[in-house]
């Protein structure tokens, strides 16, 4: 099971980081970064599979594909922004992390604008 591998990687990295922290704290940060990237790569393939299935499910529903693909893109943006922000925060760069989160928010809002426009149009058309 993959969860054992992921937990093992996490535990080993934590152990190494704790050992090295007193000697060289900067290497502890690198260990944290690399572990984060490894776990993310490990899990991103599974996430990809889930998203593919969700996409197939979305295609069977009688709704315009563009709405659901937008939602999935937004989830992707949220994941990547969160990952980047966490990596920066682990390295002690809280300011850069908040900037990444800010960029993620803006991009999510940009993706939402077409849905918002469509909804407004729908409401205006319905009201006589």
């Amino acid at each position: 099971m993959e969860i054992f591998q992921i937990v093992a990687i996490g535990l080993i990295a934590t152990f190494l980081s704790v050992l090295i922290r007193n000697e060289k704290p900067e290497i502890g940060i690198y260990i944290g970064l690399v572990t984060g990237v490894i776990i993310f790569i490990f899990i991103v393939t599974k996430l990809q599979a889930v998203i593919t299935i969700l996409n197939q499910l979305a295609n069977t529903i009688n709704i315009d594909d563009i709405y659901l693909s937008t939602i999935l893109k937004i989830v992707g943006i949220a994941y990547i922004a969160e990952f980047g922000a966490q990596v920066c925060r682990d390295a002690g760069e809280g300011v850069i992390a908040s900037k990444i989160e800010f960029a993620g928010k803006i991009l999510i809002m940009v993706m939402a604008v077409p849905i918002l426009v469509s909804l407004m149009d729908l409401i205006i058309n319905i009201v006589p």
Binding site: L47, V50, I51, L54, L57, A58, T60, I61, N62, I63, D64, I66, Y67, L68, T70, I71, L72, I74, V75, I77, A78, Y79, A81, E82, A85, E101, G104, K105, I108, M109, V110, M111, A112, V113, P114, I115, L116, V117, S118, L119, D121, L122, I123, N125, I126, P128
Partner: protein
């Protein structure tokens, strides 16, 4: 009846889809924003069959694509404008620095004065007159070697007048004034800069 059936299936499917998506959303500040978008989507799904009743078939894909392409167009336009501004700014800065270097080189070749600072006022906005020099403020000072030599030279009194009584005035600034004039005429020839628009200040040695 068939329409109502499809409508109910669509709503239920979207709610299941959204529930699944909510599990996927990372626990961050972005969660609130994603929930807003998901809420908008559910509203669209619930309302769209009503529109089919009221207005018949309306293609929403076209409007969504239009909105997103408009966003893309505006983003690209803003980026191009900003790149263009940056490009112009870089050109003006480079032009100014090259011009300053050239002026410095010419002044130092032409005279025994050292250039301390040159402030140029040039056209930066209008493309037609871009780079036209309006004004130049030049700050100079005597080179150290020359001042040392000049200390040993006695002031010279030159008899240029017929009237002996008013011929005993010491003139110390003739040499400097000539330098100023030479620089101004040189700049008029080479940079097409009127003499009145060149201000030369010479710092005195302590």
């Amino acid at each position: 009846m068939e329409i109502i059936r499809e409508w109910i299936i669509a709503i239920v499917s979207v709610i299941i889809f959204v529930t699944f998506v909510e599990i996927l959303i990372p626990n961050s500040n972005n969660k609130r924003y994603i929930n807003v978008v998901v809420g908008l989507l559910i509203m669209v799904v619930i309302l769209s069959p009503l529109l089919h009743f009221v207005r018949g078939d309306v293609n929403f894909n076209e409007k969504i694509l239009q909105a997103s392409s408009q966003i893309d167009y505006n983003t690209t336009k803003n980026r191009l404008d900003s790149y263009s501004d940056m490009h112009n700014q870089t050109i003006v800065t480079l032009y100014k620095s090259q011009l300053t270097e050239q002026m410095k080189y010419r002044i130092e070749n032409l005279s025994n004065l050292e250039v301390v600072d040159i402030v140029l006022e040039i056209e930066e906005e209008e493309i037609e007159y871009l780079g036209f020099i309006y004004n130049a403020e030049i700050v100079l000072r005597n080179m150290n070697t020359d001042t040392e030599i000049n200390k040993d030279i006695e002031p010279v009194q030159i008899d240029v007048s017929l009237n002996k009584n008013i011929n005993n005035e010491e003139v110390e600034s003739i040499w400097i004034n000539n330098e100023k004039e030479t620089i101004k005429s040189h700049f008029k020839t080479y940079f097409n800069l009127p003499k009145d628009n060149v201000n030369i200040h010479i710092l005195k040695d302590k």
